[in-house]
């Protein structure tokens, strides 16, 4: 789950970190008032779960309250990578001397948190990593000891020469690690970490992702989810316990298991079709899940056909067949359904489907081929 900049900054401030001031505005009038309060100039930043906000015109400098209102009015409602901006963050303009990058994330290879810092901040760090990898300093954190103070100091010293700046940055790096671990994050990033002409170091941007598996035990963090900025299908899928990702095609897919679900999408493409979604109904055969899955898939007007690909291992095919029949009776489906069921209790499943006037095929290639033909 991604946090907005203002939410991440709030967690940073709770840890005592030096962060630039700022408040959220939902309309141009609020932006004007905030700009006035910050002395007549401000930066207006779109709050949206997407990178490249600046390039998309979602970050603007205002040199008067009127300009702040005008920028807010332009940015609010703007679409950035398909996401509509609902709020802007209004911050005073800082006197920036240098811009650095500080990030921490979970390193898959090392199986531990890893810090990445660079004196070349304020730009896309993936670009720095690709073009000038020596500019990035990496350090793995031993989970048995956490981030030790000399390590934080060492990271900070790779960013600044001035001892005063190094001390401030070391403190911020330690605080970032606390926020990262304390909120179950998978990534926390400050880009840029600035030093001002007056010799202060502070975070003026913030980005954080929370590990979805942590949310059950962190209600305060879970409450930060911005359901308004996500597709309603995503919200419904999450509530039903389904893994769902919307795509652009017209072949609806309902599969058990994530790997098989991806392979099914790939096979749709192989046969010349376009998948409408990724959907893993999981190992459970609960009919309610099947109903929820069908409701979500059919809410997409592009969907021309729905394919089921079920490999019954632990999942019993007869349970899934009952779920499909129940779903069809309960909600009514007006696009064709094509079904593949193989494995545990498949004969019984075929009987259940046949009674409801539905048929199933035995292989993945057959069902996908059928679905792609019907979608044309």
């Amino acid at each position: 789950m991604n946090l907005h900049e203002y939410q991440a900054k709030e967690l940073f401030r709770e840890a005592g970190m030096a962060v630039n001031p700022g408040e959220v505005a939902g309309d141009p009038g609020q932006a004007r008032a905030l700009c006035e309060r910050f002395g007549g100039s401000a930066v207006i930043k779109a709050q949206v779960h997407s990178g490249g906000r600046g390039k998309a015109g979602g970050v603007k400098l205002a040199h008067s309250p009127e300009e702040a209102a005008a920028h807010a009015s332009a940015i609010l409602g703007m679409e950035i990578n398909g996401l509509v901006v609902g709020e802007v963050l209004v911050c005073p303009i800082e006197d920036i001397a240098t811009e650095a990058y500080v990030g921490v994330l979970v390193d898959r290879e090392g199986q531990c948190p890893v810090f990445m810092v660079s004196a070349e901040g304020g730009v896309d760090i993936e670009e720095v990593a690709a073009t000038n990898p020596e500019a990035i300093h990496r350090m793995r954190v031993d989970p048995r000891y956490g981030l030790l103070s000399h390590q934080a100091y060492g990271l900070a010293a790779s960013l600044y020469d001035d001892p005063g700046l190094v001390r401030q940055a070391a403190r911020i790096i330690s605080q970032l690690y606390e926020v990262f671990v304390g909120n179950g994050a998978s990534m926390a990033e400050i880009n840029p970490l600035i030093s001002t002409a007056q010799g202060r170091v502070m975070a003026i941007d913030a980005k954080m992702s929370i590990d979805d598996n942590e949310l059950f035990r962190r209600p305060a963090v879970a409450a930060l989810r911005d359901t308004g900025s996500e597709d309603s299908a995503d919200t419904r899928a999450r509530d039903a316990g389904l893994s769902f990702v919307k795509l652009d095609g017209n072949v609806g897919c309902c599969v058990n298991g994530a790997g098989l679900a991806m392979a099914t999408m790939d096979l749709v493409k192989y046969y010349g079709g376009e998948p409408a979604n990724f959907l893993d109904i999981g190992g459970s055969s609960n009919p309610d899940k099947v109903v929820a899955a069908l409701e979500i898939i059919t809410s997409d007007p592009e969907v021309k056909v729905i394919l089921f690909n079920i490999f019954g291992g632990i999942t019993r095919c007869d349970d899934v067949a009952r779920g499909i029949v129940e779903a069809v009776n309960r909600i009514g489906i007006d696009v064709p359904l094509v079904i593949r069921l193989t494995g545990t209790n498949e004969e019984l499943a075929r009987e259940i489907l046949a009674e409801a006037g539905l048929t199933a095929v035995a292989t993945m290639d057959e069902v996908v081929g059928q679905a792609v033909r019907l979608a044309r």
């Binding site: 898959r108 598996n213 795509l247």
Partner: protein, 294 residues
């Protein structure tokens, strides 16, 4: 032969009295796995009823189970909130091979659990994995026994049902397996493709290996390079997620493309550059294996 387990293991089931734990314990015992103990805190002293009237003693802690029964391997069917702790308990009790089926464990919990297991010298398989099956000998986890048959193919996969799909075609094509290993769909897993390849390299009965990978991370690239340098038997690959968009988690917590290295195209390229033939469809896997064995 088989890798990691061989049918002589004495298995303790953590979470044996739960819904999944009890069901799969009976399945495993029915297949011939020697389940010698169960652990559920607070239920020590009970007997778990296995198939055919057999009884498995239940203990409060893994340490007790190990002391009383000599258990040397464990399967964890414990809910996500407590699963990392269960892995650490098993490692601390000296259990050398720990299979964790649980999906949804917080990643930072697994950072600690993997570190502790490494310190104790225990191998963790998973988490978020279907387990391991040595056809005709033993199974630990949830892979259905009737899908597999003994033979010369070693199989390694990040996915559960996609493993079944591949094994189904192998078995139907008359290609049995030495061992099928599900390494898990999480970003941090205890046993990698390379660990499995290294074990298969030592197994004289394994004449070909199937690697089923997916988007996210770079484990497939490392495995391909390792296989090319160290493995004498042919490898056939499959990568799921060619149509997955970047930045979206595709069900498995580890199946997310960040940057260019995690894409299916990049992994396929790494496979092919290292002499691994890549099936475009799951159904092609068995045919490629048959050709490579000729």
């Amino acid at each position: 032969m088989s890798i990691f387990v061989d049918g002589t293991n004495r298995v303790v089931v953590q979470g044996i009295t739960g819904r999944d734990g009890s069901f799969h314990t009976r399945q495993m015992m029915g297949y011939g796995t020697r389940v010698v103990a169960g652990v559920t805190p607070g239920k020590g002293g009970l007997d778990f009823e296995g198939p055919g009237g057999t009884a498995v003693p239940v203990f409060d802690t893994v340490a007790e189970a190990v002391a009383e029964t000599g258990a040397d391997a464990s399967v964890v069917y414990v809910p996500p909130a407590f699963a990392a702790s269960a892995i650490m308990e098993a490692a601390d009790a000296g259990v050398g091979f720990i299979v964790c089926v649980t999906e949804g464990i917080p990643v930072l919990d697994m950072v600690r659990a993997h570190a502790l297991a490494r310190d104790r010298g225990s191998r963790v398989l998973g988490p978020n994995c279907p387990g391991i099956i040595c056809p005709g000998k033993t199974t630990m986890g949830i892979i259905p026994g009737r899908m597999v048959t003994p033979g010369p193919v070693g199989l390694i996969s990040r996915s559960g049902t996609l493993t079944y799909e591949a094994v189904y075609h192998l078995t139907r094509g008359g290609l049995g397996q030495t061992t099928c290993v599900g390494i898990g769909g999480d970003p941090l897993i205890g046993t990698s493709f390379v660990d499995c390849l290294a074990a298969f390299a030592e197994d004289p009965d394994t004449e070909a290996v199937v690697m089923i990978g997916e988007i996210g991370g770079t484990a497939e690239q490392e495995a391909a390079a390792w296989a090319s340098a160290n493995l004498d038997v042919p490898v056939v690959g499959f990568i799921a997620g060619r149509t997955a968009p970047p930045g979206k988690r595709m069900g498995h917590a580890g199946a997310i493309i960040s940057g260019s290295a995690g894409t299916a195209a990049e992994k396929t390229r790494a496979f092919e550059e290292n002499g691994i033939r890549v099936a475009r469809r799951p159904v092609e896997i068995a045919g490629l294996v048959a050709e490579s064995l000729r």
